[in-house]
Homo-oligomer: 223 residues x 2
């Protein structure tokens, strides 16, 4: 969606970090437009983008007078502002101390247990081949072991509840989608598929309209 | 503080992650007790701790019926529950969409720009020597360059406002304290001291009673 009052998202939808923001905008039912940055030309480091984000990363957004960077900060902002106003899914649960705390804990698990493993696998198996570089199998093997270990804990948890933070979908789940979307297009999809509870959770997330819509913007060529 | 209704914090105060939680408890004026885990014996991976935290990291807390892990999730929970109830400093600013968004953005900057650089320097210069291991100067040099680069952006920002998220102290600032406390006890304190605005910010943070109280629990031997 676009329009005069639309949230401007600077980046590229192929980025898992941008995808998280777009899923939140879709879940919240907010109007937005993606303003593509030319990453190959390193536009993210050009002065006009550094004015939005001093660290030169994507995504950044503009919403009226507010300029904001970092996908999680943007996601929280979007969900607080637009879900609350528009009746979108309550993905932060900030009205309940304990539920909000579990959302936060599993957002951090994504950052510190899941992402450090999966991001290397996706970089090697998906992103490097996209730009014509060869993958390093040793890096993949090392991080596949770490991801398998993390997914063991996830599987145990997801045997007890439908989503990471409880029996409700939350930003903690959505934060896992961007990289997992790409992983599932490699042979390392097996790491998810070998864990029945993780697999069922992934299928529940993949079926969400917001996730389907954003996934359609991400490169889909078989790897 | 301790007591029947006190928050139980499992870990070791020497950990920068535990220190963040303790600072939040102090800022909020909440009663707590630290229950020391024997990290040398890898007690964090024992079944009784894995029941608190499936990933075997510290800190974890118990507060009544709630068990919670991950320092940032715990920090948010503590500040929401106890600052709001007890009149502690408003370190999350969740009552203001834009201010809360800036707190979140600079928490993420800590996670993705500051921490990846400073944590290696502190590990090499402080934690490895504590256990009798030699430091690797190449690792230090590489990350000192990255930290210097991040602090350039911090210094520009802190020339415009007193704290990272605005002219108010927040969790985003406190999240930087644990590792910076140790950095300032090495020769790499110069990276902070060479930036006038960063140095002044650090001095403002260091002067907070909550920070002084927790810093006194962290190892202080000159490195």
């Amino acid at each position: 969606m676009a329009g005069g009052g639309a949230v401007k998202v600077y980046g590229a939808a192929a980025s898992p970090y941008v995808a998280t923001v777009l899923m939140c905008l879709e879940e919240a039912g907010a109007a937005y437009e993606v303003i593509h940055l030319d990453m190959a030309a390193r536009e993210q480091n050009a002065p006009h983008h550094l004015a939005r984000n001093p660290f030169g990363t994507i995504p950044a957004i503009e919403d009226g007078e507010l300029t904001l960077f970092k996908s999680r900060a943007i996601s929280r902002y979007v969900l607080r502002k637009y879900s609350n106003a528009g009746g979108g899914a309550d993905l932060l649960r900030e009205g309940n101390l304990e539920e909000a705390a579990m959302v936060d804990a599993w957002l951090e698990a994504e950052a510190h247990q899941y992402h450090p493993a999966i991001s290397h696998i996706v970089r090697q198996c998906v992103f490097l081949p996209m730009i014509g570089s060869a993958r390093d199998q040793r890096v993949i093997d090392e991080h596949a072991g770490k991801l398998r270990e993390a997914l063991r804990a996830y599987d145990a948890l997801l045997g007890e509840r439908a989503y990471l933070a409880g029996d409700f979908v939350s930003l903690a789940d959505l934060a896992h989608v961007g990289f997992t979307h790409y992983l599932m297009r490699t042979e390392y999809a097996a790491l998810v598929e070998e864990r029945a509870n993780v697999k069922a959770w992934w299928e529940r997330l993949s079926a969400r309209p917001a996730v389907k819509k954003v996934a359609a913007l991400m490169p889909t060529a078989d790897i």
